[in-house]
Symmetry: C2
Subunit: 295 residues, 2 copies
C-alpha cells in the first residue's frame, strides 16, 4: 500500500473552500501538519483558533519549505500574483493544485512562472461546491461530499501528481472527473457563469426600470423570482474575476443565448402558440431529465 498521507500541507487562502479542504483531509487522517497563508489576519487567526490550520506562515519561503502539497484557494483573480510569489520557493517534490472556477487563465499563470519540474507537479482543479457564504467560519468537512471535482491536468502533468491530488479529493468524498481546460471553461461558462450573468442583469435591469417608475416593481415579485435571482447575491469581486478570466468563452455564450432569446421573441411576436408551447415543454423536459439524472 502506497502511503498518500501528507506531512506538510500548505493552504493559500483559508476561506470556505480552502478551510473545508483542510478540515476534510484532517478528518480523513490524510495530513499531519497544515500551514495557512492569507491576507486577512483576523480570518487567519480564526482558522488557527478553529484548528483548521496548525500554523500561520511567516513568509512564502518558509511556507513552501518541505511542503508535500500546496493548495491555492484564494480568489482566482490573485492567481498570477501568488504564482509569481511562490514559484521561487517551490521545491521540486511539492504537488501544487488549485480550486479556481476558471482553468485556462490559471494554467497560463502557471506556465508563466513555474519551472518545468514544478509544472509536472501542477494539477489544476475545480470543485463544484460552495455557497454565497465565505470565510473560514463557513468551512465544513463535508462540503465536497458527493460533489463534482474537475481536474484539468496539463500535457506534462505527471501521473504521480494527478494520483496524489485524486487521493486527497477522494478522501473529501468528491466525485472526480477529468477534462481539457478549454472544455472546462466552456462547460462552466454555459452552466454557471452565464446563469450568474443573467441573474445579475435581471436585478440591474429592474433597478433601472424602477428608477423610471415611481412604483416599486419588486413589491410584487414572488418566490419564483427569489430562487431565480439567488445567485445574484454572490460575491461581486469573485464574479468580476471569473468573468474576466473566462471572458472569451462567456462572451460567446452570451451571444448564443441572445440568439435563442431572439428566436423565442420572434415566435412570440408572431403569436405562434404551437412554437411557444413546444419551446416551454422542451425546456421543462430537459430540466426534468436533468433532475432525474442528479438523484
Amino acid at each position: 500500500m502506497t502511503d498518500h498521507t501528507l506531512n506538510k500541507l500548505v493552504i493559500i487562502g483559508v476561506g470556505l473552500i480552502g478551510g473545508s479542504f483542510a478540515l476534510a483531509l484532517r478528518k480523513a487522517g490524510m495530513v499531519k501538519f497544515i500551514v495557512g497563508v492569507g491576507r486577512n489576519k483576523e480570518n487567519m487567526q480564526r482558522a488557527l483558533n478553529l484548528g483548521v490550520i496548525d500554523k500561520i506562515a511567516d513568509d512564502p519561503a518558509s511556507a513552501m519549505q518541505d511542503a508535500d502539497f500546496v493548495m491555492l484557494s484564494m480568489p482566482v483573480g490573485q492567481t498570477t500574483h501568488i504564482m509569481a510569489k511562490i514559484a521561487p520557493h517551490l521545491e521540486s517534490k511539492t504537488i501544487l493544485t488549485d480550486v479556481g472556477s476558471t482553468k485556462q487563465n490559471v494554467i497560463a499563470a502557471a506556465r508563466s512562472y513555474l519551472l518545468a519540474d514544478n509544472l509536472r507537479n501542477f494539477v489544476p482543479g475545480h470543485p463544484i461546491a460552495g455557497a454565497e457564504l465565505s470565510g473560514v467560519s463557513a468551512a465544513q468537512a463535508d462540503l465536497f461530499s458527493d460533489k463534482h471535482l474537475i481536474l484539468t491536468p496539463l500535457a506534462e502533468t505527471s501521473a504521480h501528481a494527478i494520483n496524489q491530488v485524486v487521493k486527497c479529493w477522494q478522501s473529501c468524498g468528491a466525485q472526480i472527473s477529468q477534462m481539457r481546460a478549454d472544455e472546462h471553461d466552456k462547460v462552466l461558462a454555459a452552466t454557471s457563469h452565464l446563469p450568474h450573468i443573467l441573474a445579475f442583469t435581471l436585478m440591474n435591469y429592474l433597478r433601472s426600470s424602477s428608477e423610471k417608475e415611481p412604483d416599486n416593481l419588486l413589491r410584487f415579485a414572488g418566490s419564483g423570482f427569489r430562487d431565480f435571482t439567488r445567485i445574484a447575491s454572490s460575491s461581486p469581486e469573485m464574479w468580476r474575476d471569473i468573468c474576466l478570466a473566462n471572458r472569451e468563452a462567456l462572451l460567446t455564450q452570451i451571444d448564443a443565448y441572445k440568439n435563442v432569446l431572439t428566436s423565442l421573441q420572434k415566435d412570440l411576436a408572431n403569436g405562434d402558440a404551437l412554437a411557444l408551447e413546444k419551446t416551454f415543454a422542451e425546456a421543462r423536459e430537459i430540466r426534468t431529465n436533468w433532475l432525474k439524472d442528479k438523484t
Copy 2:
C-alpha cells in the same frame, strides 16, 4: 354589520387556485354552498370527494342561477371561451372575478361579452401565489395567506362589487393592492414573465448546445443552476397563454433586458473590471434590499 357571506359561490376551474380559494372561504365561514365547473371529470369528482365543492354543475345556465359570486380560475387562455359561455346566464346581482396572470386580455374579453350590468360587477384580480403543482389535490386553505392579491377594477366597476371581492380575499389572508390593468401587466412582465422566459430559454439553449457536443453539459451544473431554472419546470400550456396574453409588454421587457445584457457584454469585452464589479455589487444590493423589505 353588513353580511358578506355568500349563499352560492361558483368556481369555474377547480384546480390549485380555485380549490384553495374555495377551501379558504369555507374555512372562514364566508360561503354556504359551492358549485364547481370544470372540463376534467376526474378532477371535479376529486374536488367533490375532498369537500372542496358541494356540487358539480350540470350546465352553465344552472350553475349561474342565483349565484352570488363567480370565480374564474381556469387557465387564462380559456377566458374568452368561458366569458362567452357564461355571459347569457349571468344574473345582474352576481359578482364576477378572476385570477388570471394577465389582466388587459381578461378585461378585453369581459368587454366583448358581458352586458353593462355584469361589467359593473366584474372585478379582475390576480393572486401572486401558486406553485409548479396543479389540480385540486394540491389545493390548500392557506395558499393565499400573507400573499399579494392585485385587483385591477374597470372604470365602471362598482364599489359594492370591489368591496365584496376584497372581503373574500381578506378572509383568505391575502394582502390586497389595486392598480391599473396595464400597469399590472407591465409589472408582472418584468418580475414574473421575463424571468420565466429567461429560464426557459437557458434550458433550451443548453439543450441545443448539448446536441452539438457529445459530452453532457449539464452533468456539472450545481445548486445555483437548479434554483435559477426552477421556474423552467412550470406548465408549458399556462406559460404559452400568459406570454400570448401579455405579448406586447413582454416583448418590450425582453428588448430592454437584452439592451442591459449587451451593455454588460461591452464592459466584459473591454475588460472593464471596475464597471463589472460595480454592476454585480449593485445587483446584489438591490436583491439584499428586496429580501429585507419582504420580511
